[in-house]
Amino acid sequence: MSIFSRLTSLFSPMGYPISEVLAYVVESAMLAIVASVSLAVVIYLFRKYMARVQLRIGPNRVGKFGLLQVMADGLKLAGKESIFPRKRDDLPYRIAPLMILVGLVMAFAVIPYGSLFWIGTLTVSDTSVSVLLLFAIIAIMPIGEVLAGISSKNKYALLGAMRAIAKDVSFEIPMMISVLAIVMMASARTASSLSINSIVLTELVPYGILQPLGIFVFMISMVARASYTPFDMGESDSELVTGYSTEYSGLRFGMFYMGLFGSILLGSFVISLFYLGGFNGPMQSSLGFVWLVIKAMIMVFMAFTLWLSMPRIRIDKFVNLGWKYLLPIAMINLVLSGTLTLLMGW
């Protein structure tokens, strides 16, 4: 039972098509609100964490402990004028930030969240092929970056987009192969091995323990997907102004910013679902969501630490890393996990 099916049954007295449409609308609105609030929380946590690590205090003026600072920044961005470059390609320029944000919110709809006390399951929509759906959605977001870079007709934006493409092609294949190892291991235990929910339910021993190489490759891929500092080639703000988002201002820039932090949150959720046991834990039927959030938050803080402790690596080194190290490691991980599953029966 997901939130979507419960909404459909709630609206079912209105007849078949209307109830389905209403369920979709309500679900999307709830999801957008929850996603943007959790993004604000992640941004606040990042700013506070970065400040404390750099021996500063961080936002503490707007609201208690600066809790409303993110909201104030968002209002400021929303009130700003969007300046359009004259030679832009209009349609791609306008839809690029939307693609990133909508892709992100869609990805949050596919993830299973476990259940919480009397509310029951918090999973928004559960399909039997949610792994494929999730990675299809994750593959949409780089297109937004590329469109933004090419359509703004700016040399920095174009260079940023080219770097983003080079980065994306070099990590996505290792990422998919490491996910394939997960699906392979899950298929020995469950019939519907392409559903994230059933993958997590088979994870009595977290797959991160069985596949240490897999979690290594997948974490690096998720860092590259979110494109923050060790791998922020698309932005490269010390060389390319701000890369593909150079020509954006106002709310459209805010969408890129939210996309960055949302990708961190999404990556943390996905890692904790696939490799850290997701919502498995003591009292799973009532505290499942809490376990998932705790694991995801640990991953978020690891991501922040990684962000704050490393410089950007050069683009050719990252491409080398992707093709010469991550891909063979992912292959070895695939073979190892196949061996573990077939021979040892783990």
Partner: protein, 148 residues
Amino acid sequence: MVRLVIEVKEPRRSIPIIGSLSGMMLVMRHLFRKPVTVQYPEEKSKLPDRFRFRIFLKLDDCVGCTLCEQVCPNGSITMQHVDRENPRNKRMIYPDVNFGTCTVCRNCEEICPTDAIYLTHVFETSRTRNSFTYSPEELAMQEDEVKK
């Protein structure tokens, strides 16, 4: 001809992930250290004992010798006429100080024969523009009494 050959050493190679992890640990350790930021108007950092900024003047002690005016390297001090009964200051001239150009060299304090002019640790002398000059009466007042 002597040829200078600069020998460039290859950096020592180590396992790459170890260095990254130790960097991450260093970043995490900083989380538990006290922030160095001082939230200025609410909390103030402790000033050193010998910190001096604001110049004060005891009008009763000043004899109008103009030594402070002569010794001031920037010409920040000029003598002003003040109508004030003081048997020791027959010419009725007292120094004023322009804090816009004062470099706090403390020459005036050192040369004053009666210790009438002296510096204190008061430093919050922010004023509206074009009025950095403290008149002799203002130099005698406490900082919060001075009209900014």
